[in-house]
């Protein structure tokens, strides 16, 4: 039995409605408990800001595409190299660090739970292998269904239950967590070098539209009672005027789940563009945020862009090719048979560039114009908008109008006429930041019930203690202190153990992977469906028996079983 007591913590725990109360946190054997014995190890938090461990509900840290980003970028690897030191292994990389680099840097910032945003089912084993070497965070993987042949055929046949059955079989097989749609239909079209422009374009051959794919999979997701909602990367990312497509996609979504949203729309910054081309490119954050404000069934994340060098990577292959044609730097693409694809290019976001400046503003606007912090979560779509190490700066920008104005003065001079940002006075408070970086993310992922994202008794003892006393600091003025505090915890506690202390990781760690197993009736077990099996055998290049990810790839894991309605 191991016990730990974090005393005199200034706790913000939004899922329990606790806002800056000084209290003690008792921990036994990795869980929060009511109280511990006198033998417990004691950490005196001395009034420091203490929150549940950070949760990132959309990041790219592990798997085929991320690793290819590393593989093709030795020039990125040169930045951020550290030697093996104590329990810490060597690390390399800035925008796409090694797995240890990701894990240590996230841990130092207080993050204990990460969702890999896009896993191709055929290559799931790779993601899980890298999870093992991401030791200081619990992990889960969104599984890509955007160009799944069997699902598109079922949709064409109008059989939503079959769609659900295929999702159930696949999630179980690949040990996935949630359902991800990246440019639905577009990734299949891209395997012919084509794309879909918005939700009403039919997918070549399959003759279903993105709208049909979204609708059907949203319904299937709820039939399966998955913890997380459908996680959507809308069509038409990154193009001027795409906000109408985004609003059209949002408009498809009914409110089907009382506990959480029905749609999680990711990196909406990239989908909130006005204008008819780059010349009149402008922000359309207002209509998007207004729409979200009226629709509790929708949660978005920012996809904030920060200036500097990074690497973009997404399953959205055609979008990456368009970016490549703009930048003409290196370009990688990886189409995955019968399922999806991905693309990668390095980019530099520059303050002197008008489009980049507008993008930077849009992300902030979405966070500031969305009334409820539970509906707009803080991300950069790491590393697409910026590496996650920029989160502290984003927090400070959201908390300080003064900081925003100071930064705004350095961006392209024409930005002001294209974005509403300068007129927005709102400054988020500590509680709202806690929602956007852990509580809201846990709720959106549907993992609060299994003990993530809060500090209630029974929860996982994942705690971040930041070296800042919120009564002493006015974030709108002392934004530099906010950046420093969120950049490096005093203590990061993961499953009851101190894993990071003032910038150093102190244990080797061992993560857990969360995955979902929906229980379906015999009739909907795709593993026994003759048509499914026959097509699998004919068109995949791996045998169906060799497809599922074995238990060996989950060293410590938690399977979330759901009772499906099929």
């Amino acid at each position: 039995m191991s016990e730990l007591l974090v005393k005199n913590a200034c706790v913000i725990d939004p899922l329990r409605g606790i806002n800056a109360e000084t209290m003690d946190i008792a921990i036994r054997d990795g869980r929060i408990v009511e109280e511990v014995s006198g033998a417990a190890e004691v950490i005196d938090a001395r009034g420091m800001l203490t929150m549940p461990g950070g949760v990132d509900s959309h990041t790219h840290i592990c798997g085929t595409k991320v690793n290819f980003g590393r593989y093709m970028s030795p020039e990125d690897m040169r930045a951020g190299r550290t030697p093996r030191r104590g329990p810490m292994h060597a690390t390399s990389g800035y925008s796409v660090p090694t797995t240890y680099g990701n894990s240590y840097r996230y841990s130092v910032m207080g993050y204990t739970t990460l969702l890999e945003g896009a896993m191709a089912p055929l290559e799931a084993r790779h993601t899980h292998e890298e999870f093992i070497y991401t030791p200081l965070q619990d992990t889960m993987a969104n599984t890509l269904f955007d160009g799944n042949w069997a699902i598109m055929e079922a949709i064409r046949d109008g059989d939503t239950k079959r769609v659900a059955a295929i999702i159930a079989w696949t999630l179980r097989a690949v040990k996935g967590f949630g359902v991800k749609l990246t440019n639905p239909g577009g990734t299949e079209a891209w395997q012919w070098g084509k794309n879909v422009s918005c939700i009403r374009d039919p997918v070549p051959y399959f003759e279903v539209t993105p709208a049909e794919i979204i609708r059907s999979i949203v319904e299937a997701n709820e039939l399966l009672h998955l913890p997380h909602s459908v996680h959507l990367h809308c069509n038409n990312l990154g193009t001027p005027g795409n906000y109408t497509c985004t609003l059209g996609s949002f408009g498809l979504i009914p409110d089907l789940n009382p506990k959480r949203q029905t749609l999680y729309a990711t990196h909406v910054q990239y989908h909130a563009y006005g204008g008819s081309g780059w010349k009149d490119f402008c922000s359309k954050s207002e209509p998007i945020a207004n729409f979200v404000n009226m629709r509790p069934q929708i949660v978005i994340d920012m996809g904030q862009v920060m200036f500097g060098r990074t690497t973009t990577m997404t399953a959205d292959g055609p979008m990456e090719f368009n970016l490549y044609r703009l930048h003409h730097d290196k370009w990688s693409n990886h189409d995955v048979e019968l399922e999806t694809g991905s693309g990668i290019i390095p980019v530099v976001y520059r303050r002197k560039n008008l489009v980049n400046s507008i993008m930077w503003a849009i992300g902030l606007e979405l966070a500031l114009l969305t009334k409820s912090p539970w509906q707009c979560l803080l991300t950069t779509d790491n590393p697409n908008g910026a590496p996650f190490v920029k989160y502290p700066e984003i927090i400070a920008l959201l908390m300080s109008k003064r900081y925003r104005d100071a930064e705004f003065a350095t961006v392209h001079p024409d930005t002001g006429s294209r974005v509403p940002l300068p007129a927005i006075e709102r400054e988020l408070d500590w509680y709202e930041i806690a929602v956007m970086t852990r509580a809201g993310q846990a709720k959106a992922l549907g993992i609060q019930e299994i003990g993530k994202g809060h500090l209630g008794p029974g929860a996982y003892a994942d705690v971040a203690v930041y070296p800042i006393r919120i009564d002493d600091v006015d974030p709108s003025v002392d934004y530099q202190k906010v950046i420093e505090a969120f950049g490096q915890t005093e203590y990061t506690i993961k499953r009851g153990r101190v894993v990071a202390r003032r910038g150093e990781c102190v244990v080797d760690g061992s993560n857990a992977t969360f995955w979902v197993k929906p229980r379906v009736s015999e009739a909907y077990d795709m593993g026994k469906d003759p048509d499914f099996i026959e097509k699998f055998d004919r068109y995949y290049t791996v045998r169906m028996r060799n497809y599922p990810v074995q238990e060996e790839y989950l060293n410590r894991n938690r399977c979330i079983e759901t009772e499906a309605e099929i």
Binding site: M72, S73, P74, E75, D329, K330
Partner: protein
Amino acid sequence: MKVTLVMKPATKSFIPIEAESIVPKNFLAGTDLSVWRGNRELRLDEVFSISVEGDADRVEDVEVVLSGDTSRLKRVGEYMDGGKITILGGIGMHCGNFMSDGTIEVHGNADGWLGREMAGGTIICRGDAADYCASGYRGGRKGMTGGTVEVFGRAGDFLAESIAAGTVIVHGDAGDMAGAEMHGGTLVVHGNCSRPAANMKSGSCYVFGTAQGMLPTFRKVGTIQHEGRTLIQFTGDIANRGKGNLFVKDYKYLD
């Protein structure tokens, strides 16, 4: 101030020594520096006999002279920002990497990556320079961005790869793929070389000898007079939508 470093005969002669600490600036604070042989850290005086004459307050007044068998000494002059390094013999890989100012003179031959990603200053090599002289780094877009490298002997393959600015002059022959991916700057080869300026985007490449294996994707423009020579002018590499200039005395396709 003149710092003389005489390399002691080595026991494990084949393990290279990395000596990025040997830059003039560092000697302003003394000679208490270290170098690495493989994974072992050694004091500078374990590897060199050190003598210092005079003193200096500014890096411009520091000259470091290296002698002995320095042909396996790597990374000398890395990030050098002023002063002078004179190497009486040959020098190992990565001499003058990232250099921004000052002068390095190598009297013998230089091993690979001489002046890699150099941004300014001057490197003179009296002997031959091996592969990747004045080049970039793996995966990087920009190689050399400024300064001058002059080699009086021959140069190896991939000379001035990805050069973006600055000048590289080779008095002897150069190897294969000289000036590959060039997108700025000037490359001059007095002798022959093969497949010059492959995939070039911009910049100027001069070959006063014969361009062997001349690539088929350069468009002949005419002839020019250059420093008393008649050179044939090409533009390209059209495969890469390039608009660079390639001037050669003579050329031969692999037809």
